[in-house]
């Protein structure tokens, strides 16, 4: 079947996305990029994984009561994505604007496969997704991510530690195994889709300098202009 994200999208806008495990620093970097665009008076939109009102009550309830299987977990996130794609991503891209996405389809490709769904199936499921113009992958070793997460709070969340998979009774150990597998999967995906890999252990300003350089280079011919037909 045709997966739209295998071809460049036809819209005049630009889609920039960030990926990485929890604690990789991707959200911080995207926020700084957002500020930079705003500072240049560029019209810019931001959207975040798992934030659509259509389904978040169901996801919350499903997670809380542990009702979700790998497939329903995966499909519910696809509902969320499809809703945001239709309302928050494609219209601004058609209008010739910049869209920033904190996590994109590669999160599902990495995480859901580690949870046990079929690799081709999840790619087909997201077949309606448009390909980003720039995709950053923030790579950090497990221990760095674990340390960063636990500076902000005391405990790991049930699903981020992959506790539903029964890998270990110890949340930290489970986190290491689960997120370690996700890192392996991300590595393959970054290759497969030509993502720009950023060393997430570097300092925040160092990473941001690199990110801005890449974005500036890729967007040097960019002229905001709406699609009219």
């Amino acid at each position: 079947m045709t997966r739209r994200f295998e071809e460049p999208h036809p819209y005049p806008g630009r889609l920039i996305i960030v990926e990485g495990i929890d604690g990789s620093g991707k959200s911080t970097q995207l926020q700084l990029l957002h500020k930079w665009f705003k500072g240049m008076n560029q019209r810019v939109f931001f959207t975040e994984w798992n934030s659509s009102a259509l389904i978040n009550e169901t996801v919350k309830r499903g997670k809380k009561k542990n009702l979700l299987t790998p497939s329903t977990f995966s499909i519910l996130h696809a509902v969320d994505f499809a809703d945001r794609l239709a309302h928050l991503i494609i219209p601004p891209l058609k209008a010739g604007m910049v869209v920033l996405a904190d996590r994109y389809i590669y999160t599902a490709f990495a995480r859901d496969v580690v949870r046990g769904v079929d690799r081709d199936w999840v790619r087909d499921l997201y077949g309606m997704a448009v390909r980003p113009n720039i995709a950053f992958y923030f790579h950090v070793p497990i221990e760095v991510s674990l340390k960063r997460i636990l500076t902000g709070r005391v405990a790991l969340k049930f699903h981020e530690a992959g506790m539903d998979l029964g890998l270990s009774d110890d949340p930290r150990e489970s986190y290491r195994i689960f997120q370690g597998r996700i890192i392996d999967e991300y590595g393959r995906i970054a290759q497969e889709y030509g993502m720009t890999v950023v060393d997430g252990t570097k300092s925040i300003p160092e990473q941001q300098r690199l990110v801005r350089e890449i974005v500036a280079e890729q967007m040097k011919d960019f002229q905001p202009a709406p699609m009219l037909r």
Binding site: T2, L54, I55, W121, L125
Partner: protein
Amino acid sequence: MNTANRKIFFGNGLPYADVSDLTGKLIVIEGTDGVGRSTQIAELRKWLEIKGYGVTTTGLGRSPLMSDAIDNAKAGHKLNVYTFSLLYLADFADRIEHEIIPALKAGFIVLADRYIYTAFARAVVRGADRDWIRAAYGFALEPDAVIYMRIGIRDLIPRVINSDDLGEGYWRTASDGVIDYWESGMDMRLGDDFYDSFVRYQRRITAEFDAMAQEFGFTVVDASKKFETVHRQMKDTILGILEPPAPAAPAA
């Protein structure tokens, strides 16, 4: 039952699910709203239970995980073909894993009040890529039989437009005897009013179903016939699966 030669999944399956010992039978009843599916299924269930079979039923949108979400989302009328299809896909996945597989393992007959084919028709008619919706349902189990209750639009209309609370009712989700907003394709603006839309929508759905009946080899029953006639045909089909006739003894 010998499942060795049987195709278990429709497409890419559930790698983590154990489906090695599905001794029950999955029998699918397809057909549009108003065709009489629920009445037939209720009667089939009684008949099978009298014969001593364990029976369970399942139907679109009935999963505990998803039924509220689907009702709320449909009431808001903000769905597009992908969100609409994926909500039903989540419902289906939940029922496959929590109802259908466990029932088939326990040797039950599962009577499915509609199945993946309704989802295929709805998605394709709304403009989704045929391959996309089929790939998404790859983890569906292949049914043992699909009985398609076919009805032409002329016979269908008097069955669905026969309710006193029509004016209010069609805004609600499906209930017998009332045209449903989505079952009229009102989200697609196919006509000026729900009647025109319903006629056009059902024609398109029926065309999809007729093509699938060929492609997937459905057992087609003419649902415009009397209840008893339709019922007998359905029972014959099911008996053919549950109690296949013994091969004829070789002539002496």
